[in-house]
Subunit: 126 residues, 2 copies
DNA sequence: ACAAGTGTATGAACTACTTAATACACACAC
DNA sequence: GTGTGTGTATTAAGTAGTTCATACACTTGT
């Protein structure tokens, strides 16, 4: 439950993102129970309302569901779950391409940069 | 002088970015005069103080210089100018790679996505 | 009954950023 | 000199979004 919050983006969105990543890589499975609002807040050292806000956001996106007086659980809707990875990917690529389009970079140079940066240090982290 | 401001980032930073892009692609040349604070504010429909803030930021970064009572000009320091493109590129790549690392994407899939998105519609825009 | 743990709701407080109103010093054109 | 256009500085107010404090309702275990 380690999250490195940056200062620019709202914390509750960073929490949402954290869960989406876990879902995308299969670390969170359909129907799996996630920490209660208060427990998450404790673990992540954020205000309980911030945790609530994050969960509310996830609920609205259909990522989790909540039964009365029980901690929320990851949705069992495989369609939604499958879309998470794609969504994160497409989002990142779109933003990257958009921000880089205006600089007129040859595509080969771009791909080389990405490849180098992406594979760099990949041994250490395994 | 068309800038599409987004709501998330401060306007003055988006203005700085706009100029950096123009510098990066060589559309703004060393020593070239840029609009006065008030004129820029008019054109971009922002408050003069916001324009001032952007120019101040650029001045601190050494991108522009200002002689008494004259509109600012692009720096003639080729070292700085050359770094702008690299800076924008590295920044974009870093952010992209960081945001995508957590999803465990095979490098080939990633490069394909970027390539496809980047070259898509490239005919229409020429 | 009671305590502890759920989710939920409401309104206030805080923060960063933007906008705004003015003011000042200077230079140049007329 | 007067007017206009530069850059610059100061201070206040407004705004949107986030975070926080607090309270409430419900369930379960004891």
């Amino acid at each position: 439950m380690n999250v490195n919050f940056n200062n620019r983006d709202p914390v509750y969105l960073q929490i949402v993102r954290y869960f989406k990543e876990k879902i995308a890589i299969g670390e969170l499975e359909p129907g799996q129970e996630i920490p209660s609002r208060r427990e998450l807040a404790n673990r992540m050292k954020v205000n309980p309302n911030t945790a609530q806000r994050a969960y509310k956001e996830m609920e609205e996106q259909g990522l989790i569901y909540t039964e009365k007086n029980h901690p929320s659980k990851i949705t069992t809707d495989n369609k939604i779950l499958g879309q998470v990875r794609t969504e994160l990917l497409v989002e990142a690529v779109d933003q990257f391409v958009t921000s880089v389009r205006s600089i007129n970079v040859p595509v080969e140079e771009l791909l080389d940069l990405v490849k180098e940066k992406y594979t760099e240090n990949s041994e250490k982290e395994v």
